[in-house]
């Protein structure tokens, strides 16, 4: 309703809110890639909570809620958190995750206590830290489409948006310029040190940026969204590519999509389905992050569950078809009725038979099926691999002859990455069961 009827509300409320959400999500996703690769994704969580005492203390010391003062206090608290986590990990000899958990809960609690006791009568609110106040951002100067033409309107952009914009530009510049060092330090920090790029400097720089992104974001979107956007878009992008540069770009795009779609779903969606009131936008964006991550885990091209399942199905079908050919070969050898000469049965057996007929490997006869010339050649290859493996297992690995059939039954299907069948060449012409190696 807002969108259609009241352009002034769209411009002064929705546009700045979406801008803040998109900028915040993109900055967090951009930096989150490197935390994720260092297996320190929880550090973002820690920093986003632990900046609270930094903000309160800087407010108490300086008596101002101005952005630079809060940024400084929060950034200091963020770096301090990273340092304390490292100290607790080393001195307490606990793993990194536990150290992070201890530090950030203690810091956040300290912040809450400080806020309740010392800053009660000011407008600092713990709920706001968690969920933000996206809906309360106002772009008062943007009253109509026409007002966008004047520079004054743009200069009067809400403070939250301009802060995030500046931080986004700084972060993007830092990532572009120092990309190779960030990648090096995340991949192999010892090598970074050995090459003369101290990894602690790179990691500290990253931590400072994360702290700054967190504090710039938290007023607008809250720490729940920060944590979600630090982790979900990079993790989702990781499922889509095997190159860090592409992963970083994809994660930023995903974050932007999450922010826009989450906002629309939270504010506009409930109206469409007849819900009386809109939902919490920051929360909805965080939910979208989770949804996208889930979708990428399920549908990713190489590592996704569906892709893996398809590959498994294809392998199972190939195995069933090859087993069918092998069984027919053994029947032709005059061993019908033996377990090894029994074709695969059930649904797998039927589909194997269909596919083998389609491939011209077998043909139907009155009594059932038999190998074609092509099928016989392929069956020979399979039986040969099977018996070579049996010979190898007995002669070279010392397995008992009556124990090797099952193992060879699996190994006969193994192929090299190039697609060739892998089998050990054997000088003997007969296998351990005294059958000919064809």
């Amino acid at each position: 309703m807002i969108l259609a009827q009241m352009p002034s509300l769209l411009l002064s409320v929705d546009v700045p809110a979406v801008l803040a959400a998109v900028l915040s999500a993109c900055v967090c996703a951009l930096l989150g890639n490197f935390l994720l690769l260092r297996k320190m994704a929880m550090l973002g969580d820690a920093i986003s909570h632990a900046i609270l005492p930094g903000i309160v203390i800087s407010f108490l010391l300086l008596g101002t809620r101005s952005t630079p003062a809060m940024l400084a206090g929060a950034a200091a608290a963020g770096v301090l958190t990273a340092v304390i986590v490292e100290v607790v990990r080393r001195l307490g000899r606990v793993e990194a995750g536990a150290a992070i958990g201890v530090v950030f809960s203690a810091m956040f609690a300290l912040g809450v206590v400080l806020m309740e006791r010392a800053a009660r009568n000011v407008d600092l609110d713990a709920d706001c830290v968690l969920y933000g106040a996206l809906e309360s951002i106002r772009w008062g100067a943007a009253t109509s489409w026409a007002s966008l033409g004047s520079a004054e309107t743009w200069l009067a952009m809400p403070r939250q948006v301009t802060t995030l914009l500046v931080l986004g530009l700084v972060s993007a510049a830092a990532v572009v310029v120092f990309f190779k060092h960030l990648r090096l330090a995340c991949f192999d920090s010892a090598m970074a040190d050995a090459l003369g790029f101290p990894s602690w400097i790179i990691h500290t720089g990253l931590t400072v940026l994360v702290a700054a992104a967190t504090v710039a974001s938290f007023e607008a979107v809250g720490s729940i969204l920060v944590v979600s956007m630090l982790v979900c878009p990079p993790a989702a992008a990781r499922h889509l590519t095997d190159r860090l540069s592409r992963q970083v770009v994809l994660s930023v795009i995903i974050a932007g999509v999450c922010a826009v779609s989450g906002y629309v779903l939270a504010i506009v969606g409930p109206e469409w389905v007849g819900f009386g009131h809109s939902l919490q936008a920051a929360g909805m964006i965080a939910v979208m992050g989770g949804v996208v991550l889930l979708a990428c885990i399920v549908c990713g091209p190489r590592h996704g569950l569906i892709a893996r399942r398809i590959r498994q199905r294809q392998l199972a079908r190939t195995v069933a078809r090859e087993d069918l050919l092998g069984a027919l070969w053994r029947i032709e050898e005059g061993r019908a009725g033996e377990p090894a000469a029994r074709p695969p049965v059930g649904a797998a057996g039927r589909s194997a038979r269909r596919e083998a007929i389609r491939a011209g490997e077998i043909e139907s006869t009155v009594g059932g099926v038999r190998l074609t010339a092509l099928g016989r050649e392929r069956a020979r290859e399979i039986i040969r691999a099977h018996r070579q493996w049996e010979t190898y297992l007995v002669d070279e690995l010392g397995h008992r002859p009556d124990h090797v059939h099952r193992t060879a039954e699996a190994l006969e299907h193994v192929r090299t990455p190039g697609g060739e069948r892998l089998a050990p060449d054997q000088p003997r012409s007969r296998d351990p069961h005294d059958r000919e190696i064809p």
Binding site: D193, D242, R243, Q247
Partner: protein, 300 residues
């Protein structure tokens, strides 16, 4: 004790790696104790010793990756990090996450980062150089593979190629032959011999005693301290059963027992050559194991 003397008569100024009286501790426990070693120039050197002997630590100390408690490392005669650009490094294969989203070529190109500095990006010339290094270890066709798709031996070759891309004069390699297939092992040996022919020095942590005489000229037998160092064979050979027995011998030496005692004793105990001297004195006098003595006051 002075560690800043410009010239040490007992150490050769031209040695690629000169380790003087180095002690390294981990959680107060010495893992390297009073190490003195001069690597010969233009040789292939194996560092050999049991697990926990400090082999990797010695390499890391030489690279400045772990702090030394006392002593000094010189590289081509210069202390500290002044000559670090002359050193190429091959870390243990397990030290990194092979699921990392990066291609083999991008890893090898890391060897060029030092000459690029902080601001210059990786250029075409760097990638060409990296490809050439990959060809030298026989993996030119794997340049665009994600590193997780490589076999263990191919991953090791990526690390060797990255070290080659550093164009160093001294190479420090941590178990380059660990868990690799036979063809990779041959490829690495060929590269090592190439490097030696080019006057480079290569120091490898090595775990396969059988291949030491075939692959290496010099050996450093290490077990927390230097047991012996010198040529593998020929006159003055140190790769002898007696020395190996000393290196791998089953019984704890008094020094190791002292190290454990120091680790347990906690703070306030000076660890280093001076402490070692005290321990030595105690053993001369009493002959009893240091660890048998109480280290905390009874009431504590």
């Amino acid at each position: 004790m002075a560690t800043t003397a410009p010239h040490r008569p007992e150490h050769r100024a031209d040695s690629p790696l000169s380790v003087h009286d180095v002690t390294v501790t981990y959680h107060r426990r010495p893992v390297l104790w009073d190490i003195d070693y001069d690597a010969p120039a233009g040789a292939l050197v194996a560092i050999v010793g049991p697990n926990g002997a400090g082999k990797s630590t010695l390499i890391k100390a030489a690279l400045g990756l772990v702090p030394v408690a006392t002593g000094e490392v010189r590289i081509f005669g210069k202390p500290g990090m002044a000559n670090r650009s002359l050193v190429g490094y091959v870390p243990q294969r397990e030290s990194v996450d092979w699921d990392f989203p990066i291609s083999a070529l991008e890893v090898v190109a890391m060897g060029r980062y030092r000459r690029l500095g902080w601001l210059r990006p990786v250029g075409r010339a760097d990638l060409d150089a990296a490809r050439e290094c990959m060809a030298r270890v026989g993996i030119a066709d794997l340049a665009d593979r994600q590193i997780g798709q490589l076999s263990g031996g191919q991953q090791q070759r990526v690390f060797i190629a990255r070290a080659l891309a550093q164009e160093a004069r001294l190479y420090l390699m941590d178990e380059p032959f660990a868990g690799v297939d036979a063809s990779t092992e041959r490829a690495i040996v060929d590269v090592l011999r190439d490097l030696r022919a080019g006057g480079r020095t290569v120091i490898c942590v090595h775990h396969d005693l059988q291949t030491v005489p075939e692959y290496f000229d010099h050996v450093l037998l290490l077990n927390t301290r230097v047991i012996a160092a010198g040529p593998v064979s020929g006159p003055g050979a140190v790769f002898t059963p007696a020395n190996l027995h000393k290196t791998y011998g089953g019984r704890l030496t008094l020094l190791e027992r002292a190290a454990e005692a120091l680790a347990r004793a906690g703070g306030g105990v000076a660890v280093g050559p001076d402490a070692a001297r005290v321990v030595d004195g105690a053993t001369v006098i009493g002959g009893a194991g240091v660890e048998d003595r109480p280290h905390r006051s009874p009431g504590a």
